[in-house]
């Protein structure tokens, strides 16, 4: 098991790096919009000094869009910060809905590239004793798989349900012809670490991750330095 945990950690580093690259790409887009908008405002003011009329409505719309982009950047950075905190505690109490929402927001760029809508179906809070980071890695892996095989509705719906055994995360809207390929080796590995069972319903285009109330964390705890 310790060998598998080490492999999962290596996968986790790759996930962490990829996510940070996507975030920096998104922030660069925001900065580029702010830069062009402020540049345009400056040029319109300069033109007005040479006698060309200045439209207050246009200026207002441009300045409002700067505020919108600052808010967008703030949301991206807030997610980045939340994601960075995923590794604070390797195992602990995790509200699964928060992790699902975070991963869905981090996947916005990938979903936009696939012209696919991601919809989270709200649920009651579902708290588990698990590894937040590996769980988020597994959710991300499943979501990226779903996005690659999205069905004709171009919408992936993610739902949560819980009972006395644990929590089930459902992904619906996957094309039936690709569903047999999951879980991949990586998916298997991440599922094993958090004690999840991954199942598929090809006819319905659904993928489900069933998580236990409490994962077996003995292997991970052995690897954590006690000093």
């Amino acid at each position: 098991m310790e060998h598998e945990i080490a492999r999962a950690c290596a996968q986790g580093l790759s996930f962490f790096g990829k996510t940070n690259r996507l975030i920096s790409h998104e922030l660069k887009n925001v900065l580029a919009i702010i830069s062009e908008t402020l540049g345009l405002i400056d040029e319109l003011i300069e033109l007005s000094e040479t006698g060309m009329g200045l439209e207050p409505g246009k200026l207002r719309s441009l300045s409002e869009s700067v505020i919108e982009e600052v808010e967008r950047a703030n949301a991206i950075i807030r997610n980045m910060n939340t994601f960075a905190h995923s590794v604070d505690e390797i195992v602990g109490e995790v509200e699964v809905g928060q992790s699902v929402k975070l991963v869905m927001e981090l996947c916005q760029l990938e979903s936009a590239a696939k012209r696919t809508k991601l919809r989270f179906e709200k649920s009651e809070p579902c708290v588990l004793h698990t590894s937040r980071f590996f769980l988020e890695n597994l959710i991300h892996h499943a979501l990226v798989y779903a996005l690659h095989g999205v069905g004709p509705e171009n919408e992936i719906r993610v739902s949560l349900s819980s009972d006395e055994h644990g929590v089930r995360i459902g992904f619906a809207g996957i094309a039936c012809n690709v569903i047999g390929e999951f879980p991949t080796k990586k998916g298997h590995l991440l599922a094993r670490i958090v004690g999840a069972e991954v199942s598929m319903n090809p006819a319905a285009g659904e993928l489900t991750i069933a998580l236990p109330k409490k994962m077996d964390d003995a292997g991970i705890q052995n690897l954590i330095s006690k000093d």
């Binding site: 660069k28 062009e36 345009l40 590239a113």
Partner: protein, 117 residues
């Protein structure tokens, strides 16, 4: 000189086009590859400024298709991936890359270089 700008960030590409217009370039913009094809079919552009990472079709693939339509068109790529490695990889392929965010003067300089002005 006629320039076609393609980027899925509408606010970015529309404002960039307006700023180029202020500098005397005839500029059109598109936010999808399909829109870019239809504009390129309807008008002749000297230079296309393409975002590298776009939904459905990358800027590099879009460039190939546009080049089939207009063999004389020149290309400049813009990217949000700002690492030095990305820049070097792009340069090795012989394309002109500009990393977002950039100064408009840099783009104008690259357009003029592409057109040997």
């Amino acid at each position: 000189m006629r320039v076609l700008l393609v980027d899925d960030e509408e606010k970015f590409v529309s404002r960039l086009a307006e700023r180029l217009e202020i500098r005397g370039f005839e500029s059109d913009w598109a936010t999808t590859s399909a829109e870019a094809f239809s504009k390129a079919a309807a008008a002749k552009y000297d230079v296309a400024v393409l975002d590298v990472k776009m939904p459905h079709m990358s800027g590099l693939d879009l460039k190939k298709k546009l080049q089939e339509m207009s063999p004389d068109m020149k290309f400049i790529f813009v990217t949000g991936h700002g690492s030095e490695e990305d820049y070097c990889a792009g340069s090795r392929e012989g394309f002109c890359y500009i990393i977002k965010p950039f100064k408009i003067e840099t783009l104008v300089e690259k357009i003029n270089q592409a057109m040997n002005v």
